[in-house]
Symmetry: C2
Subunit: 286 residues, 2 copies
């Protein structure tokens, strides 16, 4: 089946790995996206067992990246950490490592050089990933995070960065929260499809006002300003048929019972996103 | 002379118009950018007198815009308000009205249609502005404000919107805070210069972490992550020689004595911005 809904464990940070797997299964879902903290707190071997016992498929691992360091020792540490993350992907049975590329090093303001180092580190990592059948999935982050989390801010820039790498090893994720505002988004989603790099679609809303902790401004689909009809139609129109992960960082949602959050998330997905992926919704505006 | 430093009254919201004019003159500056509230609280006639008596030149008026309404009555009100703002420009002797185009109407998620309405309203306004010798200066805002303040998020998008209008009537402003993150910024600043639409350069820093009220995350140059050397060299390289306005919305700066803020702002401008405009700084990175 296409467009399977997946819980990303970033939505339910109070749940252990075992609890998140159980909650996902109890909600009738077959897919889950994992953050590395959930794996590391039980150890990789036990995490792999828990995932295997759950019968769930792991859509992606969050996250690799943070590749902008200028110091050689920090660069080596970043590469080692990303290789570990690739190994974790293999162990839990996903072929996607989501890459948040990193912001400016402290006190450094040279964006152009930071972006160049990201590319250099991808060159370093690609052989290791390719040998293990893991894709490095570049995630452009909303420009509000350019300084401290990702000097990669648009889908177009991510595809330019991916250019020259094998699409089976370097691809991109469309995260609605990060890209909805981009006047180029339709064009670049279509390009990602054409170039065989449209690896994943993640949904959550962009809430207003922006939360006091800007990282927590993600919202349940329908609560913010994103036009999921238009965006989902673009993604499906570009040929995407894979799972759709819901990843919401939001203090109010963190405080609610997880089963209630999963029920709401499933309903919102069914009402606001899925019809526009399958073509059952209103035609997309152009 | 080129690259004259200007205070924007958004940096000193506790000062009345008379106080802001005096503080600017006392700091040895010859230019000031005005927000409309400073004019409206004394009345247009008195404001024009105060400006004339001050001997200062007004760089620009903030702000026109908010053109995204879908309802005819609201559209008419927005046009009337913008015509008033154009009249205010004439009265205080500036030929630049900064345009913040507006966000999504409440409950509306159709970005494409909102952007189309901005263009339609510009068509409505351009003759009135042209007859009075006032430029509508489009300001792309940081994408974090796309939902509620400006569906215009990049310089490239602003120049696309301006395309077809006379450059003497529809131009763009480069505000460092809004555009520093954009991987296309160098290319689009050069394009603005080539197209004769590079009307203004505003500086302030992008502070991290983002302030709890996201509107107040602007900082004094040097306190945040923006590379003013690179950006200023791009602006000068595109042929810009006009005034440079400092517009900082920041609760800590609001709380400080205005003379101290103006002194610091003048020093930071002289050290971090001006050398890269005149070519006395380090060569820009490419």
């Amino acid at each position: 089946m296409s467009f399977e809904l997946a819980l990303n464990t970033g939505t339910t940070p109070r749940l252990s790995l075992a609890e998140a797997l159980a909650a996902t299964r109890d909600a009738g879902l077959g897919h889950i996206g994992l953050w590395r903290n959930r794996i590391q707190e039980v150890g990789l071997e036990r995490a792999a067992e828990l995932v295997a016992e759950s019968g769930l498929r792991v859509t992606s691992l969050c996250r690799g990246g943070f590749l902008t360091a200028a110091e050689p020792a920090e660069q080596r540490a970043a590469l080692a950490d990303n290789r570990t993350a690739i190994d974790e992907c293999v162990a839990v049975g996903t072929d996607q490592l989501i890459m948040v590329v990193g912001g400016l090093p402290t006190g450094d303001r040279d964006l152009v050089a930071a972006r160049r180092r990201v590319r250099d580190r991808l060159v370093d990592l690609v052989p290791y990933a390719a040998e293990r059948g893991v894709q490095l999935v570049l995630e452009p982050l909303h420009p509000m995070y350019c300084g401290d989390r990702a000097v990669l801010s648009t889908l177009g820039q991510a595809l330019d960065l991916a250019d020259g790498f094998d699409p089976s090893v370097v691809s991109v994720v469309v995260d609605a929260f990060h890209v909805w505002w981009d006047p180029e988004v339709g064009h670049q989603i279509a390009r990602a499809g054409r170039e065989g790099r449209l690896a994943a679609y993640q949904v959550c809303d962009f809430n207003l006002p922006i939360a006091a902790d800007a990282l927590l401004s993600r919202g349940m689909m329908g609560d913010g300003v994103i036009d999921f009809g238009a965006l989902s139609a673009m993604v499906a129109g570009a040929g995407y048929t894979g799972p759709v992960e819901v990843e919401i960082f939001n203090a109010e949602i963190y405080a609610r019972p997880a089963d209630e959050v999963l029920t709401e998330m499933t309903g919102r997905y069914r009402d606001l996103v899925l019809p526009h992926l399958t073509g059952a919704g209103q035609p997309a505006r152009t």
